[in-house]
Amino acid sequence: MQLTETPQTAAIPPDARPRLPRGVRLVHNEAQGGLVLLAPERVFKPDPIAVEILKRCTGEATLDAIVDDLAKTYSAPRERILTDVSALLRSLADRKLLEL
Protein backbone atom coordinates (compact mmCIF):
# COMPACT_ATOMS: atom_id res chain seq x y z
CA MET A 1 0.00 0.00 0.00
CA GLN A 2 1.24 3.52 -0.79
CA LEU A 3 2.17 5.69 2.14
CA THR A 4 2.01 8.94 0.22
CA GLU A 5 -1.20 10.02 -1.44
CA THR A 6 -2.00 13.45 -2.83
CA PRO A 7 0.22 15.90 -0.95
CA GLN A 8 -1.75 18.39 1.10
CA THR A 9 -1.07 22.07 1.08
CA ALA A 10 -1.38 22.88 4.80
CA ALA A 11 2.19 23.48 6.00
CA ILE A 12 3.51 21.67 9.07
CA PRO A 13 5.03 24.02 11.63
CA PRO A 14 8.84 23.68 11.79
CA ASP A 15 8.69 23.12 15.55
CA ALA A 16 6.13 20.28 15.32
CA ARG A 17 7.37 17.08 16.95
CA PRO A 18 5.82 14.27 14.90
CA ARG A 19 5.24 10.95 16.60
CA LEU A 20 3.52 7.68 15.91
CA PRO A 21 0.49 7.25 18.18
CA ARG A 22 -0.07 4.15 20.27
CA GLY A 23 -1.36 1.59 17.80
CA VAL A 24 1.00 2.59 14.97
CA ARG A 25 4.35 0.82 15.08
CA LEU A 26 7.36 0.35 12.85
CA VAL A 27 8.54 -3.22 13.38
CA HIS A 28 11.04 -5.56 11.83
CA ASN A 29 9.61 -8.82 10.55
CA GLU A 30 11.80 -11.45 8.97
CA ALA A 31 8.93 -13.37 7.33
CA GLN A 32 7.63 -10.20 5.68
CA GLY A 33 11.08 -9.20 4.52
CA GLY A 34 12.04 -6.21 6.64
CA LEU A 35 10.43 -3.21 8.28
CA VAL A 36 6.66 -2.89 8.22
CA LEU A 37 4.40 -0.19 9.63
CA LEU A 38 1.58 -1.72 11.63
CA ALA A 39 -1.56 0.39 11.93
CA PRO A 40 -5.24 -0.21 12.72
CA GLU A 41 -6.28 -3.04 10.43
CA ARG A 42 -3.58 -2.05 7.98
CA VAL A 43 -0.03 -3.09 7.22
CA PHE A 44 2.18 -0.78 5.19
CA LYS A 45 5.47 -1.67 3.59
CA PRO A 46 7.36 1.63 3.73
CA ASP A 47 10.00 2.36 1.10
CA PRO A 48 13.56 3.04 2.36
CA ILE A 49 13.02 6.82 2.36
CA ALA A 50 9.79 6.53 4.36
CA VAL A 51 11.59 4.26 6.83
CA GLU A 52 14.28 6.89 7.44
CA ILE A 53 11.61 9.52 8.04
CA LEU A 54 9.45 7.31 10.26
CA LYS A 55 12.41 6.29 12.42
CA ARG A 56 12.89 9.94 13.27
CA CYS A 57 9.24 10.54 14.30
CA THR A 58 9.93 9.96 17.97
CA GLY A 59 7.98 12.86 19.44
CA GLU A 60 11.28 14.44 20.45
CA ALA A 61 12.81 15.69 17.20
CA THR A 62 11.19 18.72 15.56
CA LEU A 63 10.36 18.78 11.86
CA ASP A 64 13.27 21.20 11.43
CA ALA A 65 15.69 18.84 13.15
CA ILE A 66 14.46 15.84 11.16
CA VAL A 67 14.91 17.68 7.87
CA ASP A 68 18.36 18.96 8.87
CA ASP A 69 19.41 15.47 9.89
CA LEU A 70 18.20 13.88 6.64
CA ALA A 71 19.73 16.64 4.49
CA LYS A 72 23.05 16.08 6.22
CA THR A 73 22.91 12.28 6.19
CA TYR A 74 22.05 12.11 2.50
CA SER A 75 23.86 15.27 1.36
CA ALA A 76 20.63 16.39 -0.32
CA PRO A 77 19.13 19.87 -0.81
CA ARG A 78 17.22 20.84 2.32
CA GLU A 79 14.24 22.21 0.41
CA ARG A 80 13.76 18.99 -1.49
CA ILE A 81 13.92 16.98 1.76
CA LEU A 82 11.45 19.33 3.42
CA THR A 83 8.97 18.82 0.57
CA ASP A 84 9.26 15.02 0.72
CA VAL A 85 9.08 14.81 4.50
CA SER A 86 6.13 17.22 4.70
CA ALA A 87 4.18 15.27 2.07
CA LEU A 88 4.66 11.99 3.91
CA LEU A 89 3.89 13.42 7.34
CA ARG A 90 0.79 15.24 6.13
CA SER A 91 -0.48 12.13 4.39
CA LEU A 92 0.03 10.03 7.51
CA ALA A 93 -1.49 12.66 9.78
CA ASP A 94 -4.56 12.94 7.56
CA ARG A 95 -5.00 9.21 7.97
CA LYS A 96 -4.55 9.48 11.75
CA LEU A 97 -1.36 7.44 11.64
CA LEU A 98 0.80 10.28 12.93
CA GLU A 99 0.48 12.97 15.56
CA LEU A 100 1.90 16.38 14.74
Binding site: R22, V27, P40, K96
Partner: protein
Protein backbone atom coordinates in the same frame (compact mmCIF):
# COMPACT_ATOMS: atom_id res chain seq x y z
CA UNK B 1 -0.42 -18.21 -10.60
CA UNK B 2 0.71 -21.80 -10.93
CA UNK B 3 1.18 -24.55 -8.39
CA UNK B 4 4.91 -23.79 -8.47
CA UNK B 5 4.44 -20.24 -7.16
CA UNK B 6 5.46 -20.01 -3.50
CA UNK B 7 2.77 -19.76 -0.86
CA UNK B 8 2.71 -16.28 0.70
CA UNK B 9 2.90 -15.62 4.42
CA UNK B 10 -0.39 -14.76 6.09
CA UNK B 11 -0.57 -11.21 7.49
CA UNK B 12 -3.66 -11.40 9.64
CA UNK B 13 -5.32 -13.91 11.93
CA UNK B 14 -8.95 -13.64 12.95
CA UNK B 15 -9.22 -15.29 16.35
CA UNK B 16 -12.83 -16.15 17.08
CA UNK B 17 -12.41 -16.58 20.81
CA UNK B 18 -16.02 -17.60 21.38
CA UNK B 19 -19.29 -17.77 19.50
CA UNK B 20 -21.18 -16.63 22.60
CA UNK B 21 -22.68 -13.15 22.25
CA UNK B 22 -25.28 -11.18 24.17
CA UNK B 23 -26.48 -9.35 21.07
CA UNK B 24 -29.02 -10.74 18.63
CA UNK B 25 -28.02 -8.98 15.41
CA UNK B 26 -30.08 -10.21 12.47
CA UNK B 27 -26.96 -10.07 10.22
CA UNK B 28 -24.72 -12.14 12.51
CA UNK B 29 -21.74 -13.35 10.50
CA UNK B 30 -21.01 -16.38 12.64
CA UNK B 31 -21.91 -19.75 11.16
CA UNK B 32 -25.31 -21.33 11.57
CA UNK B 33 -23.78 -24.22 13.53
CA UNK B 34 -21.88 -22.53 16.35
CA UNK B 35 -18.86 -23.95 18.18
CA UNK B 36 -19.73 -24.85 21.77
CA UNK B 37 -16.23 -25.97 22.61
CA UNK B 38 -13.57 -23.31 23.18
CA UNK B 39 -9.77 -23.41 23.14
CA UNK B 40 -8.29 -22.53 26.51
CA UNK B 41 -5.87 -19.69 27.23
CA UNK B 42 -2.76 -21.83 26.78
CA UNK B 43 -3.95 -23.16 23.42
CA UNK B 44 -4.56 -19.62 22.15
CA UNK B 45 -1.12 -18.56 23.39
CA UNK B 46 0.43 -21.40 21.37
CA UNK B 47 -1.62 -20.46 18.29
CA UNK B 48 -0.38 -16.86 18.58
CA UNK B 49 3.26 -17.96 18.83
CA UNK B 50 2.85 -20.21 15.81
CA UNK B 51 1.11 -17.42 13.93
CA UNK B 52 3.93 -14.96 14.62
CA UNK B 53 6.49 -17.53 13.46
CA UNK B 54 4.48 -17.95 10.26
CA UNK B 55 4.70 -14.22 9.55
CA UNK B 56 1.34 -13.06 10.90
CA UNK B 57 1.56 -9.44 12.02
CA UNK B 58 -1.90 -8.67 13.32
CA UNK B 59 -4.40 -10.63 15.33
CA UNK B 60 -8.06 -9.64 15.41
CA UNK B 61 -9.61 -10.77 18.69
CA UNK B 62 -13.20 -11.38 17.77
CA UNK B 63 -16.17 -13.63 18.38
CA UNK B 64 -19.13 -13.76 19.03
CA UNK B 65 -18.34 -11.23 21.70
CA UNK B 66 -14.72 -11.70 22.83
CA UNK B 67 -15.51 -10.09 26.19
CA UNK B 68 -17.62 -13.17 26.96
CA UNK B 69 -14.25 -14.84 27.64
CA UNK B 70 -13.19 -14.27 31.24
CA UNK B 71 -9.56 -14.73 30.22
CA UNK B 72 -9.65 -11.99 27.54
CA UNK B 73 -6.86 -10.00 29.26
CA UNK B 74 -4.63 -13.10 29.45
CA UNK B 75 -5.38 -13.88 25.79
CA UNK B 76 -4.56 -10.29 24.81
CA UNK B 77 -1.31 -10.43 26.76
CA UNK B 78 -0.40 -13.73 25.09
CA UNK B 79 -0.92 -12.22 21.63
CA UNK B 80 1.06 -9.14 22.59
CA UNK B 81 3.88 -11.26 24.04
CA UNK B 82 4.01 -13.24 20.80
CA UNK B 83 4.82 -9.93 19.09
CA UNK B 84 1.46 -9.55 17.35
CA UNK B 85 -0.44 -6.31 16.83
CA UNK B 86 -3.64 -6.80 18.81
CA UNK B 87 -6.98 -5.56 17.55
CA UNK B 88 -10.10 -6.08 19.62
CA UNK B 89 -13.37 -6.36 17.69
CA UNK B 90 -16.17 -5.88 20.17
CA UNK B 91 -19.80 -4.96 20.65
CA UNK B 92 -18.69 -3.31 23.93
CA UNK B 93 -21.20 -5.32 25.95
CA UNK B 94 -19.41 -6.89 28.90
CA UNK B 95 -16.47 -4.48 28.90
CA UNK B 96 -16.56 -2.18 31.89
CA UNK B 97 -14.02 0.61 32.33
CA UNK B 98 -12.22 -1.50 34.91
CA UNK B 99 -12.07 -4.53 32.69
CA UNK B 100 -10.97 -2.49 29.71
CA UNK B 101 -8.05 -1.18 31.74
CA UNK B 102 -6.73 -4.74 32.11
CA UNK B 103 -6.78 -5.07 28.30
CA UNK B 104 -4.99 -1.75 27.83
CA UNK B 105 -2.37 -2.88 30.34
CA UNK B 106 -2.03 -6.18 28.49
CA UNK B 107 -0.80 -4.26 25.43
CA UNK B 108 -3.92 -3.85 23.34
CA UNK B 109 -3.11 -1.85 20.20
CA UNK B 110 -6.46 -0.99 18.67
CA UNK B 111 -10.19 -1.32 19.27
CA UNK B 112 -13.04 -1.66 16.83
CA UNK B 113 -16.54 -1.10 18.18
CA UNK B 114 -19.57 -1.87 16.06
CA UNK B 115 -22.52 0.50 16.03
CA UNK B 116 -26.00 -0.33 14.80
CA UNK B 117 -27.38 3.17 14.27
CA UNK B 118 -26.83 6.78 15.30
CA UNK B 119 -29.43 6.89 18.05
CA UNK B 120 -30.30 4.65 20.94
CA UNK B 121 -33.77 3.34 20.14
CA UNK B 122 -33.04 2.22 16.63
CA UNK B 123 -29.55 0.96 17.50
CA UNK B 124 -30.76 -1.16 20.40
CA UNK B 125 -33.65 -2.45 18.34
CA UNK B 126 -31.33 -3.62 15.54
CA UNK B 127 -28.90 -5.21 18.00
CA UNK B 128 -31.78 -6.85 19.83
CA UNK B 129 -30.26 -5.72 23.12
CA UNK B 130 -31.57 -2.89 25.31
CA UNK B 131 -28.74 -0.71 26.55
CA UNK B 132 -26.14 -1.76 23.96
CA UNK B 133 -25.88 1.74 22.48
CA UNK B 134 -25.07 3.34 25.80
CA UNK B 135 -22.39 0.75 26.55
CA UNK B 136 -20.75 1.45 23.21
CA UNK B 137 -20.59 5.15 24.06
CA UNK B 138 -19.06 4.40 27.44
CA UNK B 139 -16.46 2.00 26.07
CA UNK B 140 -15.51 4.40 23.25
CA UNK B 141 -14.80 7.06 25.89
CA UNK B 142 -12.56 4.62 27.78
CA UNK B 143 -10.66 3.66 24.64
CA UNK B 144 -10.01 7.32 23.83
CA UNK B 145 -9.05 8.04 27.45
CA UNK B 146 -6.36 5.36 27.18
CA UNK B 147 -5.16 7.02 23.95
CA UNK B 148 -5.83 3.84 22.02
CA UNK B 149 -6.91 4.31 18.42
CA UNK B 150 -10.57 3.57 17.84
CA UNK B 151 -12.39 2.38 14.74
CA UNK B 152 -16.15 2.50 14.57
CA UNK B 153 -17.67 -0.24 12.46
CA UNK B 154 -21.01 1.00 11.17
CA UNK B 155 -22.97 -1.99 9.94
CA UNK B 156 -25.25 -0.75 7.15
CA UNK B 157 -28.51 -2.10 5.79
CA UNK B 158 -31.94 -0.86 4.76
CA UNK B 159 -33.03 0.40 8.19
CA UNK B 160 -29.98 2.64 8.78
CA UNK B 161 -28.28 3.28 5.42
CA UNK B 162 -30.04 6.67 5.13
CA UNK B 163 -28.33 7.65 8.40
CA UNK B 164 -24.80 7.19 7.08
CA UNK B 165 -23.90 10.86 7.65
CA UNK B 166 -25.23 10.79 11.20
CA UNK B 167 -23.31 7.59 11.91
CA UNK B 168 -20.07 9.14 10.68
CA UNK B 169 -20.80 12.21 12.84
CA UNK B 170 -21.32 9.89 15.78
CA UNK B 171 -17.99 8.16 15.11
CA UNK B 172 -16.27 11.57 15.15
CA UNK B 173 -18.07 12.53 18.35
CA UNK B 174 -16.92 9.27 19.95
CA UNK B 175 -13.31 10.12 19.08
CA UNK B 176 -12.74 7.47 16.42
CA UNK B 177 -9.83 7.92 14.04
CA UNK B 178 -11.45 5.64 11.51
CA UNK B 179 -14.94 4.53 10.53
CA UNK B 180 -15.80 1.53 8.40
CA UNK B 181 -19.00 1.74 6.42
CA UNK B 182 -19.59 -2.00 6.48
CA UNK B 183 -22.52 -3.15 4.42
CA UNK B 184 -24.09 -6.37 5.61
CA UNK B 185 -22.82 -9.44 3.81
CA UNK B 186 -25.25 -12.22 3.26
CA UNK B 187 -23.75 -15.41 4.64
CA UNK B 188 -24.86 -17.62 7.48
CA UNK B 189 -27.48 -16.05 9.68
CA UNK B 190 -27.81 -12.90 7.55
CA UNK B 191 -29.28 -14.93 4.67
CA UNK B 192 -32.34 -15.58 6.86
CA UNK B 193 -32.91 -11.82 7.12
CA UNK B 194 -31.75 -10.80 3.65
CA UNK B 195 -35.14 -9.54 2.45
CA UNK B 196 -35.52 -7.50 5.65
CA UNK B 197 -32.02 -6.01 5.46
CA UNK B 198 -31.46 -5.43 1.74
CA UNK B 199 -31.18 -1.73 0.87
CA UNK B 200 -32.69 -0.35 -2.34
CA UNK B 201 -30.49 0.76 -5.22
CA UNK B 202 -31.58 4.36 -4.62
CA UNK B 203 -30.49 4.09 -0.98
CA UNK B 204 -27.11 2.66 -1.96
CA UNK B 205 -26.54 5.42 -4.53
CA UNK B 206 -27.44 8.10 -1.98
CA UNK B 207 -25.08 6.51 0.57
CA UNK B 208 -22.20 6.36 -1.93
CA UNK B 209 -22.51 10.07 -2.70
CA UNK B 210 -22.98 10.90 0.97
CA UNK B 211 -19.74 9.08 1.79
CA UNK B 212 -17.87 10.99 -0.92
CA UNK B 213 -19.11 14.27 0.51
CA UNK B 214 -18.27 13.18 4.06
CA UNK B 215 -14.74 12.22 3.05
CA UNK B 216 -14.13 15.62 1.51
CA UNK B 217 -15.70 17.44 4.44
CA UNK B 218 -13.90 15.51 7.18
CA UNK B 219 -10.51 15.03 5.59
CA UNK B 220 -7.86 14.92 8.30
CA UNK B 221 -10.48 14.39 11.04
CA UNK B 222 -11.50 10.82 10.38
CA UNK B 223 -10.69 8.13 7.85
CA UNK B 224 -13.78 6.76 6.15
CA UNK B 225 -13.41 3.29 4.65
CA UNK B 226 -16.30 2.12 2.51
CA UNK B 227 -16.93 -0.28 -0.33
CA UNK B 228 -19.98 -0.69 -2.54
CA UNK B 229 -22.21 -3.42 -1.09
CA UNK B 230 -21.92 -6.78 -2.84
CA UNK B 231 -25.34 -6.96 -4.45
CA UNK B 232 -24.95 -3.56 -6.08
CA UNK B 233 -21.34 -3.91 -7.21
CA UNK B 234 -20.18 -4.51 -10.78
CA UNK B 235 -17.14 -6.54 -9.81
CA UNK B 236 -16.66 -8.76 -6.77
CA UNK B 237 -14.54 -7.90 -3.76
CA UNK B 238 -11.14 -9.60 -3.42
CA UNK B 239 -12.55 -11.67 -0.60
CA UNK B 240 -10.05 -12.08 2.29
CA UNK B 241 -7.40 -10.82 -0.13
CA UNK B 242 -7.52 -14.17 -1.92
CA UNK B 243 -8.20 -17.63 -0.51
CA UNK B 244 -5.29 -18.90 1.60
CA UNK B 245 -3.24 -15.92 0.55
CA UNK B 246 -3.12 -13.30 3.30
CA UNK B 247 -5.30 -14.32 6.21
CA UNK B 248 -6.67 -17.15 8.26
CA UNK B 249 -9.39 -17.67 10.81
CA UNK B 250 -9.33 -19.85 13.91
CA UNK B 251 -12.74 -20.83 15.29
CA UNK B 252 -13.48 -21.06 19.02
CA UNK B 253 -12.94 -24.83 18.92
CA UNK B 254 -9.66 -24.51 17.00
CA UNK B 255 -10.64 -25.26 13.41
CA UNK B 256 -8.63 -23.19 10.94
CA UNK B 257 -10.60 -21.66 8.08
CA UNK B 258 -9.51 -19.60 5.06
CA UNK B 259 -12.39 -17.22 5.85
CA UNK B 260 -14.97 -16.99 8.59
CA UNK B 261 -17.79 -18.32 6.40
CA UNK B 262 -15.81 -21.17 4.80
CA UNK B 263 -17.77 -23.83 6.68
CA UNK B 264 -20.80 -22.99 4.54
CA UNK B 265 -19.06 -24.72 1.61
CA UNK B 266 -19.73 -28.44 1.81
CA UNK B 267 -16.96 -30.98 1.32
CA UNK B 268 -14.06 -28.85 2.56
CA UNK B 269 -11.78 -30.55 5.08
CA UNK B 270 -10.64 -28.23 7.85
CA UNK B 271 -7.77 -29.06 10.13
CA UNK B 272 -7.61 -28.10 13.80
CA UNK B 273 -4.85 -26.46 15.82
CA UNK B 274 -5.38 -29.30 18.28
CA UNK B 275 -3.89 -31.75 15.80
CA UNK B 276 -1.63 -29.69 13.53
CA UNK B 277 0.68 -26.72 13.70
CA UNK B 278 -0.59 -23.53 12.08
CA UNK B 279 2.21 -23.73 9.49
CA UNK B 280 1.17 -27.26 8.47
CA UNK B 281 -2.43 -26.15 8.18
CA UNK B 282 -1.58 -23.04 6.18
CA UNK B 283 0.55 -24.95 3.70
CA UNK B 284 -1.10 -28.34 3.48
CA UNK B 285 -4.66 -28.50 4.77
CA UNK B 286 -7.15 -29.46 2.06
CA UNK B 287 -9.43 -26.48 2.77
CA UNK B 288 -6.61 -23.98 2.20
CA UNK B 289 -5.43 -25.73 -0.94
CA UNK B 290 -8.92 -25.95 -2.41
CA UNK B 291 -9.12 -22.42 -3.85
CA UNK B 292 -5.60 -21.11 -3.46
CA UNK B 293 -4.14 -19.48 -6.57
CA UNK B 294 -6.07 -19.57 -9.84
CA UNK B 295 -5.83 -23.19 -11.04
CA UNK B 296 -9.27 -24.04 -9.65
CA UNK B 297 -11.02 -21.34 -11.67
CA UNK B 298 -13.59 -21.83 -14.41
CA UNK B 299 -14.50 -19.35 -17.12
CA UNK B 300 -15.05 -16.44 -17.17
CA UNK B 301 -12.53 -16.17 -14.28
CA UNK B 302 -9.87 -18.52 -15.68
CA UNK B 303 -8.87 -16.15 -18.51
CA UNK B 304 -9.94 -12.88 -16.90
CA UNK B 305 -7.25 -10.21 -16.44
CA UNK B 306 -8.87 -9.27 -13.12
CA UNK B 307 -8.27 -12.72 -11.62
CA UNK B 308 -5.10 -11.61 -9.81
CA UNK B 309 -6.95 -8.61 -8.38
CA UNK B 310 -10.19 -10.07 -7.11
CA UNK B 311 -9.38 -13.82 -7.16
CA UNK B 312 -12.82 -14.59 -8.57
CA UNK B 313 -14.54 -12.91 -5.62
CA UNK B 314 -16.03 -14.77 -2.70
CA UNK B 315 -16.18 -18.59 -2.74
CA UNK B 316 -18.86 -18.72 -0.08
CA UNK B 317 -21.08 -16.33 -2.01
CA UNK B 318 -20.48 -18.26 -5.24
CA UNK B 319 -21.61 -21.44 -3.53
CA UNK B 320 -24.53 -19.83 -1.70
CA UNK B 321 -25.98 -18.29 -4.85
CA UNK B 322 -25.03 -20.77 -7.60
CA UNK B 323 -24.50 -24.05 -5.75
CA UNK B 324 -20.95 -24.26 -7.16
CA UNK B 325 -18.07 -23.01 -5.03
CA UNK B 326 -15.81 -22.87 -8.12
CA UNK B 327 -18.14 -20.56 -10.02
CA UNK B 328 -17.45 -16.88 -10.59
CA UNK B 329 -18.87 -14.86 -7.71
CA UNK B 330 -22.23 -13.85 -9.26
CA UNK B 331 -21.73 -10.31 -7.96
CA UNK B 332 -19.44 -9.99 -11.01
CA UNK B 333 -21.18 -8.53 -14.03
CA UNK B 334 -19.26 -11.05 -16.17
CA UNK B 335 -20.84 -13.98 -14.33
CA UNK B 336 -23.52 -15.85 -16.31
CA UNK B 337 -25.53 -15.88 -13.04
CA UNK B 338 -25.26 -12.13 -12.44
CA UNK B 339 -29.00 -11.61 -13.04
CA UNK B 340 -29.65 -13.69 -9.93
CA UNK B 341 -27.97 -11.07 -7.76
CA UNK B 342 -30.11 -8.31 -9.21
CA UNK B 343 -33.23 -10.41 -8.61
CA UNK B 344 -32.27 -11.08 -4.98
CA UNK B 345 -31.59 -7.39 -4.40
CA UNK B 346 -35.20 -6.76 -5.45
CA UNK B 347 -36.53 -9.24 -2.91
CA UNK B 348 -37.42 -6.98 -0.03
CA UNK B 349 -39.94 -7.72 2.71
CA UNK B 350 -41.09 -5.61 5.64
CA UNK B 351 -41.12 -8.35 8.24
CA UNK B 352 -39.70 -8.63 11.74
CA UNK B 353 -36.03 -9.57 11.96
CA UNK B 354 -35.19 -13.10 12.96
CA UNK B 355 -32.82 -12.33 15.80
CA UNK B 356 -29.99 -14.60 16.76
CA UNK B 357 -30.58 -15.87 20.28
CA UNK B 358 -28.07 -18.40 21.44
CA UNK B 359 -29.90 -19.78 24.43
CA UNK B 360 -33.29 -19.96 22.75
CA UNK B 361 -31.74 -21.23 19.55
CA UNK B 362 -30.59 -24.30 21.39
CA UNK B 363 -33.98 -24.87 22.93
CA UNK B 364 -36.54 -23.78 20.38
CA UNK B 365 -34.93 -22.59 17.16
CA UNK B 366 -35.06 -19.08 15.74
CA UNK B 367 -37.32 -16.60 17.49
CA UNK B 368 -39.08 -13.75 15.74
CA UNK B 369 -39.37 -10.46 17.51
CA UNK B 370 -41.08 -7.17 16.84
CA UNK B 371 -40.60 -5.64 13.41
CA UNK B 372 -38.54 -2.55 12.60
CA UNK B 373 -41.79 -0.73 11.90
CA UNK B 374 -42.83 -1.28 15.52
CA UNK B 375 -39.61 0.10 16.91
CA UNK B 376 -40.12 3.07 19.19
Amino acid sequence: MTAAEPILNPLGLLAELTHRCPLGCPYCSNPIALDREELDTAAWARVFREAAALGVLQVHLSGGEPAARRDLAEITAAAHDAGLYTNLITSAVGLTAKRFETLADAGLDHVQISIQDHEQNSADHIAGYAGAYERKRLLAAEVVRHKILLTINAVMHRANIDHVSEMVELAIELGASRVEIAHVQYYGWAVTNRAMLMPTRAQVERAVSAVEALRAHHQGRIVIDAVVPDYYARFPKPCVGGWGRRSLNVTPAGKVLPCHAAETIPGLEFWSVREHSLAEIWEQSPAFRAFRGTDWMQEPCASCPRRFEDFGGCRCQAFALTGDARATDPVCQLSPKHALVAALAEERREEPYVYRRLERERAAGPVREKSPAQAP
